[in-house]
């Protein structure tokens, strides 16, 4: 396997050709030029390759990533790193809806802001957002950590299960069964680790923690909203 960076240019080749190469990589490192907002760029990467995408991407960039280190040097459309299993995905700009949706593992860093439904149904991924997130984020979030260095939109953590949410700024409102929780030493420690992994320099003491009140875990009278 080549240790040099292979350059793939989407102005002259297709997403199909790109992904076929990334699924059977001949190199350890790739640079994707002129992504032009195409969908499903670097979807289905399943090895520890590095992919740098120079520009904006469409829907589902780095979808189902399993082991890759993928950086979008620009903005990302809906569902970046959806259902990621492992590895790292970084967006240097902003991300659209459903960033990190249903992801089971790995680290998703969005240096800018993320739109609504960030971390929806997350299942173990760590998501760190440098600025704000939109409404209905962490809806039905099952596991993992969501760190928000700015503000959170309305209905944060609606119907949340066991995921943990940290927010540095204001929370517009909490969703059903999501409550503020005490920040203990172990939480500050994991927060510090997540911020460090994301390359963000914030004091963990400035964050508040949110999680499930676990009142919706069993069907019963009055537990519907």
């Amino acid at each position: 396997m080549s240790t040099d960076t292979t350059v793939l240019d989407l102005s002259t080749s297709s997403v199909r050709e790109l992904n076929a190469e990334l699924h059977r990589p001949a190199a350890k490192s790739y640079e994707v030029r002129h992504p032009q907002g195409a969908h499903a760029i670097a979807a289905g990467v399943d090895s520890d390759i590095t992919v740098d995408v120079r520009g904006h991407v469409g829907y589902y960039a780095a979808g189902m990533n399993d082991g890759g280190t993928i950086t979008v040097h620009g903005n990302a459309g809906t569902g970046v790193a959806e259902n990621m299993m492992s590895g790292t995905v970084r967006v240097t700009g902003d991300a659209s809806q459903s960033a990190g949706a249903t992801a089971h593992g790995g680290l998703l860093v969005i240096e800018g802001s993320a739109s609504m439904r960030c971390g929806i149904s997350m299942k173990g991924v760590d998501v760190v957002v440098g600025a704000d997130i939109g409404p209905m984020s962490a809806f039905m979030a099952q596991a993992g950590r969501l760190v928000v260095c700015g503000d959170a939109g309305a209905d944060l953590g609606d119907s949340i299960y066991e995921a943990r949410i940290y927010v540095r700024g204001a929370v517009a409102s909490l969703g059903a069964d999501c409550v503020e929780k005490e920040v203990r030493a172990e939480h500050r420690a994991e927060l510090a680790e997540l911020l460090a992994a994301a390359g963000l320099d914030h004091d963990p003491a400035g964050f508040r923690r949110y999680g499930s009140a676990r009142r919706l875990y069993h069907f019963a009278r009055g537990n519907t909203y």
Partner: protein
């Protein structure tokens, strides 16, 4: 459940407030929660029973019942996929989850389907090694919850089924009650054991057909365009939904009527939302025909398939294949009279048991209780299912030959008549003995 108390014949039961309705009100008043159960719609609906075949006579030439070839195979998903499914029979096993069903039941479904060369389908909760290992053709469902969804299993699948809904509950999510959440089920779904689990009713990362087209593109990219992509819808606005599913890129459309089963849904939902299978098929076929894609995008129909006659009728109306769920479970041993005493202890009776949500299934099928689940031998269950699938196929062939068809897919609406005005209107075929198609 049967009752030993016979009412005085002079007593008149209200058609509006019949005994089941009264019992429902009493149950609601006592508990304050709605009734959750399994199975599909139990109300009387226009169905395949309301259709008859016109066997060959003077103007049609029949095929010899046992000797002349009547093909049964079907190719699914050859529009885009590198490896479409080629099944020996057009009767497939519908999606049912590990969680709703025991691992043994899932294995038995795989064994039975594989023995006769057809496909089985995962469900909400992911793919188990047991069912992958025993399934020659395995369809992997891609559901709103994405429980257990991972790219490794996606690549192991033979086809991908994007589920928008099911006939028992179009527009509704799923539920799996805590008594069925074993440690293994909980781990596969990344949730605590013992809690009542909700499965989302909407996909988390796409909304509407334009997004779905991009989602399907992503799934194809991840799997290198190898696998057919199905889109499954619960029958409601079927004409429009099928058109939109095809526009989104579906290789196969699965339409599930309201008789289709569920493991756990509110009774009021099952009985009052969606349309009958019979009404859905012509809508789906019309949509495909108008797009010029009938038989190119294949149509699988489910919801109340019980006999080879049902298979033949669905195909005559335009389906390429059918899927069975409830009937497959019955073939495995569900509602078997040998468990009558245990059904009665649960307040039910053989032939009536529908508490699949409860986890105490005496037949060991809709349970995660290790002792109950061990009652179902996957090998024996698979053998029974294979037998049943063979009978469905032989029955359908018998009818097709009588109609002069050398392949099940040659059956056509012209072979059918309806017994009722309602069935004629829904199925868009003439009332028997007339040329009248209501609404045509």
């Amino acid at each position: 459940m049967s009752s030993s108390v016979q009412p005085d014949p002079a007593l008149r039961e209200s058609a509006t407030f019949d005994r089941a309705t009264i019992a429902g009100i009493q149950r609601a008043a006592a508990t304050g929660v709605y009734d959750i159960r399994g199975w599909g719609a139990k109300r009387r609906l226009p169905h395949f029973d309301d259709l008859l075949f016109l066997g060959a006579s003077m103007s049609r030439y029949p095929l010899e019942g046992y000797r002349e070839r009547c093909g049964t195979d079907v190719v699914l998903g050859d529009r885009n996929a590198k490896y479409p499914l080629h099944l020996d029979i057009p009767v497939t096993i519908a999606g049912m989850s590990f969680g709703a069903l025991s691992a043994q039941a899932k294995e038995a479904l795989g064994r039975g389907a594989s023995e006769v060369g057809t496909s089985t389908t995962t469900g909400d909760g992911g793919m188990t090694p047991e069912e992958r290992g025993q399934s020659k053709h395995l369809v992997y469902q891609y559901l709103p919850s994405r429980y257990g969804m991972n790219p490794t299993d996606l690549r192991k699948a033979d086809a991908i089924e994007v589920v928008l809904g099911q006939g028992a509950k179009p527009g509704g999510g799923g539920m799996l009650l805590g008594q069925k959440i074993s440690d293994r089920v909980a781990a596969m779904r990344t949730l605590p054991a013992g809690i009542d689990q909700r499965s989302a009713c909407r996909h988390p990362d796409w909304t509407g057909p334009d997004d779905l087209a991009i989602k399907i593109l992503e799934l194809r990219e991840i799997t290198d365009w190898e696998k057919p992509v199905y889109v499954k819808i619960g029958a409601s606005r079927t004409y429009y939904d099928v058109k939109l599913a095809v526009a989104s890129g579906a290789d196969v459309v699965v339409v599930d009527g309201m008789q289709g089963g569920t493991a756990a849904t509110q009774d009021v939902f099952i009985e009052n939302v969606g349309i009958p299978t019979l009404a859905a098929i012509p809508q789906a076929v019309q949509a495909l025909q108008e797009l010029g894609l009938h038989r190119k995008v294949q149509l699988i129909v489910s919801g109340g398939i019980r006999t080879g006659a049902d298979v033949a009728k669905a195909m005559a109306l335009g389906a390429d294949a059918v899927a069975i769920g409830t009937a497959a479970l019955i073939a495995l041993g569900d509602n078997d009279p040998r468990y009558q005493a245990e059904y009665e202890a649960l307040g039910s009776s053989a032939g009536f048991y529908d508490d699949f949500q409860d986890g105490r299934d005496p037949a060991g099928i809709s349970t995660q209780d290790p002792e109950l689940a061990a009652r179902l031998d996957p090998v024996e269950g698979g053998r029974r299912l294979a037998n049943y699938l063979r009978v469905l196929t032989l029955e359908a062939q018998t009818i097709a030959r009588a109609c002069g068809k050398a392949h099940l897919q040659h059956l056509e609406p012209e072979d059918l008549v309806a017994l009722t005005i309602e069935a004629a209107a829904m199925a868009r075929i003439p009332l028997a003995g007339t040329n009248w198609i209501p609404g045509a």
